[in-house]
Symmetry: C2
Subunit: 418 residues, 2 copies
């Protein structure tokens, strides 16, 4: 079979499977999730053996130790995948629940019922645990899913796919509810992105290059985020110790992730007191400061910032710093350079907190809290399948609910329209 | 200026205006809506004169009387546009409201705040009242909007655009909150559909050809519906008089619209009693029956249905009719030929009503009610900007709320992530 035929067959099978998983009970779906969790442990020997093949190729190709670490399935990886599945199983079933219900003057009851999206396609790189996380969330939401992982994890992903298929079959669901694409070249991705008749949503997860490729080639709606250029604004009158603590956590706790702090904005009335304070702590953690001219006057060891530092997602121990004359200038800066991801204000001013929340355009706006909280688990959504920085359908962390839609249900006693 | 420059300038101006209208108060937005309603009446002489130019061109081109009627601005058109605006103004402001709020164990308050989408682009044909309806709904939801109406209504639309601009300016908002594209060829549409940096959502409204053109050429998310192939299923044991009444209303009340009935499915146990009953009433209304072989045995004057009648959106006094052996066969038929628009069951069986609601895939599923109720006004959403048959972001009638998104708002007292 050609790649085109393989992909078309998978997409059609997914559409057919979507109808079955869409109407099956929450009990069955939760049993599948629980069974996958158990099978991951029972079949760990098989998983380690298949994973070893990927690790060998990775070493031959000279992948970095960090990459190889992300690729490795160890006992703790299996433990955390299984734990995640059990947490998703423990959540209430969203499907079939009525979001709200109201009466019309003519006696009709009108409500919105939560329903699956249908067929979801995940396109991702490297980490094999995404295979389990994505399958679990999509299944809970009653969707069929087509998974296309990266070539470097193909053996691991296929092995995980077999474990999932076994759990589906055991519970009387078609194995095509979760399918793993066996071809890993970009042509296969392009073919997937043409199946708008059978696939309802594409979620790419990986580097900006992968995401831009998917957006450029897809005729199917895409939920995506490109990058996180997150700001903290330290307001006049803010608690400066709290501000240092939040900046340190936002910047240093895990600098390589999308909700890490990239730019610090400081009210001019606090700059003289605050900048040396925050620099002492963060420079001790190895952070390089790239400052505006006023910052560099105060912090003699700061590097002068260039224009390209303001829109930069450093993903590293680098912080751009700018002194602003007021909150409006800070919000203008964020509107110009922000990426709609996460923005935080450190303030004691009630009116400023309200205005910042209302007016700043980002998937999560924080007051006196670390940017690192923009995460499905931290915000209480349970597991997440990604963070959307586009506003259509979902904006921010996407959990189970974001993998559903609603339909109108209208219950009458013979009403007609006049 | 070239078309490209005109469109780029408009898109950039809309993005800038979106920030201003997005943060302005509900009071100001409602005043703009009220002022437009008043100005429509005050400037009716100007509107009739500009509309007359379009009508003259339409007559020269030999447009049908039905088309010319849709194009005409009369006193009742102005009255109904003004009334619609006042109804939207009377609705609560969705922007800034918290959808819900919860506490995290670490004391963070997390909520979802309703926000505007940003910039909406409407692409539509013929009826000038869409200009006012779309502008009103987008404005209420805090969005900037770029309107591109058809060439046949260009003078009317420009005149309406001037009225809107006057009301915006009077209330201190930029006139660029609502912009009318002055060029009406398809090249201008193609240019609009490339502005993904500045436009967040495209809503096409018109024939299937226009919608397919927009989908094929857009790099911006599109909310659309292609067609409505709506079914009624008459279950075993249904109240047959009610079923006749519902079928008549669904099919005959306004046959040319997307929520009109196109196919009737009848349980075999009721066919002998029901089909002559429904045929007597609907054939009296001029409806042609196209039946499956079993239907044609019972109704001697029915035309035998061909395969292409099952997926057809007749938009006319034609009804496809099929006898089925049970509800499962009816649901299979709907899954195969339906368009995810509106489906209704006429039944007295509680379990069947529940299963039909749960399992049928459509933006609105009805029990013992006319398909004609799938409409924003009828379902209690207020005015609608269209009906979506795709599940991403909105599914079914789209009112003000469907023109918004939500962002996370996180209020802390210095929390950091551990």
């Amino acid at each position: 079979m050609s790649v085109n035929e393989i992909i078309l067959n998978m997409a059609q099978a997914a559409r057919a499977a979507a109808r079955e998983v869409g109407r099956c009970s929450g009990q069955v779906k939760d049993q599948v999730l629980t069974d996958i969790a158990a099978l991951l442990k029972e079949e760990s020997g098989f998983l380690y053996a298949e994973n070893a093949k990927d690790l060998e190729t990775a070493r031959e190709k000279g992948l970095s130790p960090a990459m190889i670490d992300r690729l490795t399935i160890k006992e703790s990886t299996i433990e955390s995948m299984a734990q995640g599945l059990l947490e998703v199983a423990a959540m209430p079933d969203p499907i079939g629940s009525m979001v709200r219900m109201w009466q019309r003057p003519n006696g009709l009851s009108v409500g919105k019922m939560r329903i699956p999206l249908g067929v979801v396609c995940m396109i991702y790189e490297s980490r094999p645990n995404v295979t389990i996380d994505a399958a679990g969330l999509c299944l809970k939401a009653g969707n069929a899913v087509v998974l296309r992982g990266g070539s470097e994890a193909i053996h691991s992903n296929k092995a995980l796919g077999q474990v999932i298929a076994k759990a589906l079959a055991k519970n009387g669901l078609p194995e095509t509810v979760v399918q793993l694409v066996p071809v890993t070249d970009r042509e296969a991705v392009k073919e997937l992105l043409k199946q708008e008749e059978y696939i309802d949503l594409v979620i790419p997860r990986g580097g900006e290059g992968l995401i831009r490729f998917v957006v450029a080639n897809s005729s199917i709606p895409v939920l995506k985020h490109y990058k996180g250029v997150c700001h903290a604004y330290v307001d006049q009158g803010a608690d400066l110790d709290m501000a240092v603590h939040i900046c340190q956590n936002s910047k240093v706790q895990r600098p390589g992730v999308c909700n890490a702090l990239e730019t610090l904005l400081v009210h001019e009335a606090e700059a003289q007191a605050f900048l040396p304070k925050v620099a002492a702590v963060l420079q001790n953690d190895g952070v390089e400061f790239r400052g505006c001219p006023r910052t560099c006057e105060i912090l003699k060891n700061a590097v002068p910032a260039r224009e390209e530092d303001w829109p930069a997602e450093f993903l590293d121990l680098i912080l751009a710093v700018k002194v602003v004359k007021d909150m409006d200038e800070a919000m203008d800066h964020i509107a110009k350079y922000g990426s709609l991801h996460t923005e935080t204000i450190i303030t004691n001013d009630y009116g400023h907190a309200k205005r910042f929340c209302r007016e700043v355009d980002a998937s999560a706006v924080m007051v006196n809290a670390s940017t690192r909280f923009n995460d499905g688990g931290q915000l209480g959504l349970g597991a997440e399948i990604g963070i959307s920085t586009s506003k259509l359908h979902a904006f921010g962390p996407m959990g189970v609910e974001e993998l559903t839609a609603t339909k109108f249900v209208v219950e009458g006693q013979g009403q007609v329209r006049s």
